[in-house]
Symmetry: C2
Subunit: 451 residues, 2 copies
């Protein structure tokens, strides 16, 4: 629930105010809007309109709007400014992690130029230090801005330090306690600082039970640690146990949401985290490879059926149930594989209980297979189909369901053991391989029973 | 990264220490473990072992372990205690939202009995007030515990209030400012309280720009508001603008993760948020309905092919490409529908740009269709297939891809307009309907071209 509703009418009204440069009317509206709202409006503005609105905002709010923009809009908007302006109008007010994200999206020449131009050399060095971490590591997710206090300090000194840092560190929940070598010792909550006497010593009251991750931990590990322990911020340490940054809950929330979207799309046969607003070309690139997997599978299927062409000519009714066999093989395979992929991602499946999981999936498949085959035979009886055809199809269906459950369970586990992302095995991949094997099994059984 | 690694060996070691009641050896280990770690261990303990470990923990930590347990383990564990113990040993230390979750999972007789038995009547009333909200609303997600300050107070009074509430409100990030009617006026961060002079008035420094949601907002709205505005906690108000609770980031992180898992499973044809550790029966129940959808679709497909039996007998080669046509129809349909479902869930698609989205999906489908048909014809040429068959299959493939894109785009949008969750239209549902229409189109084209 925001102060001002953003809809088609309000956007049009704003654009006409911008065109007329009605600063006096715009200012109170902008005052009421949060950075995230203004960022949303930028989707509907052209570059001139966006730059004009930005010029009316106070420096910190202007930067907050920038960091809230979608990645592609961000670069388009910054194209309205010189490198000098980006370095010293924007980057002074920006957290190191957000700055590093922007530089990572730019070409190297421009990002180097901007880093060189930043007047605050300390800030520039902080940002540069984040650029060296590979994508999707704790190092790449973390920000350098945090409150760091020494164990020997008093609470009064902590408060003074927070006062000094207050401008740079926008969100303070915790102060991290370090020793003289910058090694992380523990933490102290803002609440505890507030409620303690000024002359109390940090070393007497800080909490040495502290959870941290190393800079090379994966984004997945950071997210699951923060979720497991309900942490609002997670300190990140280097190989020498020195405190180098922190990841905050908002970054993790975005990360979890992005990853979930990517997994969902992988299951649908779309790579790389697309949304409907991406270009036709990039959408095609993300989908075509999976369609070609399906196409190759389809051609292979035609060869399998071609191999049974004589049997098919003798028993044409076998052709009628090809779609049924394929659909069921695909559905069961996707059900089993997606639960495996989720379980592996959650670490709720360990390699030690592979046999247990497989047995359970087989049992579920057996129940589902018996019910589905039973229903199919019932339909065959009611519709007056040939008994031998329906027996064949029913038996094939049961076998195919069991086979699909085995493949759906084993393939993700095997990929995981080979250190390949098991999510790759969901969607079109598992459907295609199950189609092929299912058809083969179906015609084999048909051949054996119908001759 | 936790202090002690939990693995098969350490669990066995712990169980043998429990069996021998080696309290002196267990205490330092438990001291080192976080509540979330101990909760994880409970999965491997029987009831007696869990109750023994709980008896060694200090009261607050015991409750923290309880709230970290999975829902089913939670009830099993509490079966080891009387209602009186649950009410006054556990619930005194538990946040209202966590208590309400537990009561919701119990049968009504037990939950009423526990509520009646709680000695702290204020706390009991708070918990009871949460039970009335429907699942998946802000009211059901929120906790009553928060720091509430009056606009007329000084900073000193705020600090005193935080000190009084410190035991009940474990996580303090923000104090909410209310007037004499409990109406929400604004907020003040803990950092600002810490850095302000003791005699400063709240009304002079609090921030009146505050984002809130009503008790009847959906969980989805709460999550997207907190994510959009990067909020560590979101105040919840009633119909009279009175502050009644707050939702914190950790609840939202769990919510987002659970919802993503449910959507993922829906796409795989599994209902209701299962994991591999659920029972065989509940897993079967979650999957069988979708398999029956597929089965009915398969039977319908057999009727479609049966209707073209004569054409098929004349051109048996048409049967070879049934799997290819079906697989491609399914894959394209799932690609289009899943992007639509995600876009609708994110509010990034509005009803006004339906035609634009449809046009774009058709363009993408046209490119993908041309490429796939081209590849298929190329294969036909190389493999020396009959030209007329390959032309027919190629044209049918292109048509089926276009059709699947239209269905995949339109069905979720239509469901959304009918206020039905569009996620229902993904997975087996879209695959099955595309299979049917695709086959029909295929044989129609085959019939027209091959006679």
């Amino acid at each position: 629930m925001s102060a001002i509703e953003i809809n088609k009418e309000s956007v049009e009204e704003l654009i006409s105010l911008i065109t007329a440069q009605e600063q006096d009317e715009l200012l109170p509206v902008l005052e009421k809007l949060y950075p995230a709202d203004i960022a949303e409006l930028f989707d509907d503005f052209n570059l001139d309109q966006a730059v004009y609105i930005a010029s009316l905002l106070e420096p910190q709010k202007k930067v907050d709007v920038l960091t809230e923009l979608d990645d592609d809009v961000k670069l388009k908007f910054l194209a309205g400014y010189s490198n000098e302006e980006i370095a010293n109008d924007f980057f002074v007010y920006i957290d190191s992690d957000d700055a590093a994200d922007i530089l990572n999206a730019m070409d190297t020449t421009q990002s180097k130029e901007i880093l060189r131009t930043i007047n605050d050399k300390e800030h520039s060095k902080n940002i540069a230090s984040l650029l060296k971490f590979p994508e999707n590591t704790a190092g790449a997710l973390m920000a350098k801005e945090l409150i760091r206090v020494k164990q020997s300090w008093t609470i009064k000194q902590c408060t003074d330090e927070i006062r000094i840092q207050a401008e740079d560190v926008s969100k303070v929940y915790t102060a991290y306690v370090v020793d003289e070598f910058e090694e992380l010792l523990g933490w102290i909550s803002l609440k505890k600082i507030l409620l303690s006497r000024e002359n109390q010593k940090v070393e007497d009251i800080y909490d040495s039970n502290i959870i941290s991750e190393s800079t090379y931990s994966s984004g997945e590990e950071v997210a699951s640690t923060m979720q497991k322990y309900d942490l609002v911020a997670l300190p990140i340490i280097d190989a020498f146990n020195r405190l180098v940054g922190r990841v905050t809950f908002d970054d993790v929330l975005d990360y979890v949401k992005d990853e979930a979207e990517k997994d969902y799309q992988m299951l649908s046969g779309i790579s790389g985290g697309k949304d409907t607003s991406d270009t036709v070309l990039s959408n095609t690139r993300a989908r075509l490879p999976w369609l070609i997997v399906g196409l190759v599978g389809g051609i292979a299927s035609s060869l399998v059926i071609g191999g049974f062409e004589e049997e098919l000519a003798r028993n044409l009714q076998l052709a009628l149930f090809v779609p049924l066999i394929m659909a069921m093989a695909g559905n069961v395979g996707v059900q089993s594989s997606s639960l495996m992929v989720q379980g592996l991602a959650n670490n709720s499946i360990t390699n030690s209980d592979v046999w247990g999981k497989l047995g359970k999936e087989l049992l579920i498949a057996l129940i589902n297979g018996l019910v589905c085959s039973g229903l199919l035979m019932g339909y065959g009886f009611v519709s007056g189909s040939h008994l031998d055809i329906m027996m064949t199809v029913g038996l094939a269906l049961l076998s195919v369901i069991l086979m699909a459950a085995v493949i759906g369970t084993v393939v993700p586990l095997a990929l995981d053991r080979l250190k390949i992302d098991p999510a790759l095995a969901t969607g079109p991949f598992i459907t295609t391989s199950n189609d092929l094997l299912g058809l083969f099994l179906y015609f084999m059984i048909g051949n054996a029973f119908l001759g």
